[in-house]
């Protein structure tokens, strides 16, 4: 009788692992950029293409860099959360409009709401490469000294926001 129970026992162990696995994120690859200075950039603003904006304009502030594009479906998923964060004024969000067309991007913001302090254009994705972007959306939390402190790959979920990003931002602002 007991040896016939072995398959069941083996399966239950496996099920335990699978349950734990559900809570883990396979894509949470530790980014080599975390705790390193954010790569410098100076890019044209989306709204005023004749003006540029650079990383150093945010010196002394805790801020988020959100990589987005009008062609990205997953961005639409996290968008309401960003709009919410912007409305509460928790932290300034700078948008990096990645490999996109300005008209499409502006129209997208008009349709779904603009949570960004401003967006900059990265039409060929050069700045994206320097930030190690391999999927849109991605979000970086950058501290007052311009050091990347957190990187979210994929949409920000309410859980990640509440449990990881918001506490981190509060803590960084006090420093």
């Amino acid at each position: 009788m007991w040896r016939y129970l072995a398959p069941l026992a083996a399966f239950l162990v496996l099920a335990g692992f699978l349950y734990v696995g559900l809570g883990l994120n396979p894509r949470e690859v530790p980014s080599p950029l975390v705790d390193k200075p954010a790569p410098a950039f100076e890019l044209a603003k989306l709204a005023q293409p004749d003006q540029t904006f650079s990383r150093d304009d945010m010196k002394g502030k805790v801020w988020m860099l959100n990589v987005w594009a009008s062609w990205c479906t997953a961005c639409r998923e996290e968008h309401p959360l960003l709009v919410d964060i912007a409305r509460q004024g928790t932290v300034p969000i700078v948008g990096l409009n990645y490999k996109d067309k300005p008209e499409a991007a502006k129209q997208w913001l008009a349709q779904w709401g603009d949570p960004y302090k401003l967006s900059v254009q990265d039409p060929v994705g050069r700045t994206g490469i320097e930030y190690g972007v391999y999927g849109v959306p991605e979000t970086f939390v950058i501290d007052k000294n311009g050091v990347i402190r957190f990187k979210q790959i994929g949409p920000i979920t309410p859980k990640v926001w509440q449990e990881k990003m918001l506490p981190l931002i509060r803590q960084l602002e006090q420093a």
Binding site: M1, Y4, L5, P7, L8, F11, L12, L14, A15, F17, L18, Y19, V20, G21, L22, G23, L24, P26, R27, E28, V29, P30, A69, W71, T73, A74, E77, Y98, K99, D100, G125, G135, V136, G154, P155
Partner: protein, 657 residues
């Protein structure tokens, strides 16, 4: 309106599935005839409503109804009509509905082709399938509703992932799912046998054709997926040991083991508990594959927006189905008994080895696929397991399996003698060794790997020839009548084994002799690969229905003689310009493929170009086709038809008496 009809049809299907899952099983336990007889009509009605629901979703895709969320995120009005239709299963929601549809169809096939089975058996089999189906419909309705509306409707759809806009992707998912889901039928037969305590040769004979059928579909489905990866991803590889591929390969390995162990149970009454366990494991692997692909526990191409809620649901369902089956197994299997005895050297023992090797191979793939997850759960370390592990583990397991493939079919049941086998097979061995040593010399470069691979392939062929000769030796008449005297099951087996040989030849020769060049080419540049010369003539812009492409032109010549022009493309789809797609240009022939794909523009008129010569690469897929054909030939064996007629009349006699 149409999506609402679909949604409603799915709810009705759920209710019918619950009815189908409960009443016939209870009826069989209590001996209530009318409840048992409910199984067949319920199965057919459920299939009708699931088909209606699927049809409604397909219609919404066909007319580009962007007020349906699923259509808006996975289709586009510019898509050609056939991709609009295949976009139905391009998303998570749609593919789960496709799963349910396939299950409903398999169940109704059981309902139609089970006249010869005892009433209780039919009730239990269809009832078990009904419970599985109810779980999946519930999953669809609660966490992955494909009919969700979008208010306001989107003006235009987000488009189908360009990678999936390909003829291979129209057929690959349905084929694969037919196989995956088809293993639910042997699973249900196993559960029914455990419930009723009837586990005998007749049970194995009823289960066998269903298992073979599912196996045929799965083989073709995997082959199609591999072929698609080869020509669409533009790297020239044909198997990547990606978790999603592994998820389909694991049920194939245990399914193959099941096909063989069922043969023993049918012919000799042995391996009964093992066969039942294998049937449960195989379907569990299908379910586990669905879980792995759909929950996002493992990184895969399909998983950017995963929903933990879905994962929890599938896991709960997995625990219910697999856990209760294994519990039932632990409870009932000890009473089954062992069946016919056999000696250490016999066809049974060789098939047992076959099963052990296949299951161990499955375990190796399983470990490699799950190890990153295990390690992350225990130690919090992130790693990934790649092809080097799988290649290293897999080949040593397959070599003895192939050796047995030659010996097994010639061995006698119950007891075989090694000296006798050695005498009968010595010529086959000599022929295999000699050709394996000589052929690489003829092909130009000798290596151990090529020679070893060819040895395995020629061994299969030579021993099959010996087997056929022995079988027809005592039959009189012309060669044709002598060949025709053998049952189809015999030919099916040999054809499938020959398929393995063809497959091994393809893999070995590609690995041994392929030449690959990744080069930067400006207009007029020439590169030479595997004896062929490629001249880059430049790139033109061409317009497709929903994309623009840069189309390169290459002149291919050999020894100064012009052969052909090849036109690889780099396509940029209107909906997703950030993700250009590679369309390799392939000149395919039986002795090898000439393969050119465009990489990136690198300034001026120069491009990075991949030029490959892949000798005998198509043999890999033709081998799979031969395996599948072998399964079909075996299925057409007349003894299934006769047995069914005999049992049907016996059942009728029992009713009248």
């Amino acid at each position: 309106m149409i999506p609402e009809i679909g949604h409603f049809a799915l709810i009705l299907a759920l209710l019918i599935a619950l009815l189908q899952g409960v009443l016939p099983i209870v009826g069989a336990a209590r001996g209530i005839g009318p409840w048992m007889d409910l199984a067949r009509p319920a199965a057919k009605a459920q299939a009708m409503f699931v088909t209606l629901a699927f049809g409604c979703l397909m219609w919404s895709f066909y007319v580009s109804d962007f007020s349906v969320q699923n259509v808006a995120s996975n289709s586009n009005s510019l898509l050609p009509w056939y991709y609009k239709l295949s976009a139905t299963w391009g998303s998570h929601e749609g593919s789960i509905l496709l799963w349910t549809l396939m299950l409903a169809w398999w169940t109704s096939l059981v309902a139609f082709f089970s006249r010869h089975l005892p009433r209780e058996m039919v009730a239990r089999v269809i009832g078990t399938l009904g419970l599985v189906s109810a779980g999946f419909i519930l999953f669809t309705l609660t966490t992955s509703d494909p009919f969700d509306r979008l208010f306001p409707a989107a003006p235009e759809g987000r488009d189908l992932n360009p990678l999936l806009q390909d003829p291979g992707m129209i057929f690959h998912p349905p084929m694969l799912y037919m196989g995956y889901v088809g293993f639910a039928v042997p699973f249900a037969f196993a559960i029914a046998a455990l419930m009723g305590g009837r586990l005998d040769a007749a049970w194995a004979r009823w289960t066998r054709p269903w298992t073979t059928m599912a196996w045929v579909f799965l083989t073709l489905g995997i082959a199609l997926g591999s072929w698609w990866a080869y020509y669409e991803l533009g790297w020239g590889g044909w198997w990547f040991w990606d978790p999603v591929e592994n998820a389909s390969f694991m049920p194939w390995l245990t399914g193959t083991a099941l096909v063989h162990s069922l043969a023993v149970t049918e012919k000799r009454g042995s391996f009964k508990t093992w066969t039942v366990l294998l049937a449960i494991i195989t379907f569990s692997m299908s379910l586990l594959g669905t879980f792995l692909v759909r929950s996002g526990v493992l990184t895969s191409v399909h998983a950017f927006a995963t929903d933990p809620e879905r994962g929890v649901f599938i896991l709960g369902f997995l625990i219910f189905v697999i856990g209760s089956s294994l519990l039932l197994f632990a409870w009932r299997a000890p009473k089954v008994g062992l069946g016919g005895k056999f000696a250490n050297v016999s066809r049974e023992s060789m098939l047992l080895m076959n099963n052990v090797l296949l299951v161990v191979a499955m375990g190796a793939v399983f470990l490699g696929t799950m190890y990153p997850l295990f390690l992350d759960a225990i130690a919090g370390t992130k790693i990934s397991v790649g092809p080097p592990y799988f290649d290293a583990v897999f080949a040593p397991l397959m070599a003895p399996l192939v050796f047995l493939m030659g010996v097994g079919p010639l061995s006698r049941w119950k007891e075989a003698k090694i000296p006798d086998l050695a005498t009968r097979l010595r010529w086959a061995a000599v022929v295999a060794v000699v050709t394996a040593v000589l052929v690489p010399v003829v092909l130009g470069r000798w290596s151990w790997i090529v020679s070893g691979g060819l040895l395995l392939a020629f061994w299969i062929v030579a021993s099959a020839v010996v087997n056929v000769r022995e079988h027809i030796r005592n039959v009189r008449g012309s060669l044709l009548t002598r060949l025709a005297s053998q049952p189809r099951a015999f030919w099916g087996m040999n054809l499938a084994h020959l398929g393995v040989a063809i497959f091994i030849i393809g893999v070995t020769l590609v690995k041994g002799y392929e030449t690959e060049r990744d080069v930067r080419m400006a207009v007029g540049d020439v590169v030479s690969v595997g004896g062929f010369t490629f001249k880059f003539e430049g790139v033109q812009e061409v317009q497709g229905p929903n994309y623009v492409a840069a189309r390169g032109t290459f002149d291919v010549s050999k020894n100064g003689r012009f052969i052909e022009k090849l036109y690889p493309e780099k396509r940029s789809y209107l909906s997703n310009r950030a993700m250009p797609m590679t369309e390799a240009a392939i000149d395919s022939s039986i002795i090898g493929d000439i393969y050119v794909s465009l990489g990136e523009p690198v300034g001026g008129d120069a491009w990075t170009v991949r030029a490959y010569y892949k000798p005998f690469v198509t043999w890999i897929w033709w081998g799979c086709v031969a395996m599948a054909l072998g399964g079909l030939v075996a299925l057409s064996d007349r003894r299934y038809r006769f047995a069914r007629r005999r049992e049907a009349s016996a059942a009728k006699a029992a009713v009248t008496a």
